[in-house]
Amino acid sequence: MTIACRSAAMLGLYVNTVSSSGVTHLGDIRGKTDMASKALAVQKAVPNNEDDEFRFASYALFYKPKLALEENVPVLFRSESPWPTIQVDFVYSLGVSSSSTLRVGCGGPVEGISRIKHIRYFNDRDTR
């Protein structure tokens, strides 16, 4: 695969917060960009002391294998860019978070994964 890189010209960029494996990337990169984030929220009125419920490995969501696309037909890909510049005036973003990326530039593959388990279980109706 051959990628014809273009230059990216930008007047201004405002990003308020970058958190939880978020990436803001200015410029070109040859290598791979990997982002990974996990979150586990447990909120219970009555604790469960029998199961080991405070580890990521206790939930199938965190050890399920990632799905991958299979290449059925080989593809000879080629791109060309007669106009060598991408022009963007201004980008305003409040946040980049949870294995997300904001990139200005040309680069290699991007891979991000985010897994969130969100437990809110109340054994007592009167408990908030």
Partner: protein, 68 residues
Amino acid sequence: MSDPMVMNVTNGPVSVGCIRLLGVSSSSALLIGDTESITLYSYFDTPPESVIVAPLAPLPIPPEEEQQ
């Protein structure tokens, strides 16, 4: 093995004004440029509606039952 598919892409001119967005979150991407590939995974298990914290409000009787 089947014959390879030939794919030629010609990128046209790109000129964008201002981009205003609240956020890029949960394995998302905003790309201004070129890249070989983007692979993004996101899992989210429990929906927030799965628990109702507030006390239950009594519902009125449907009008069909009142007529009977």
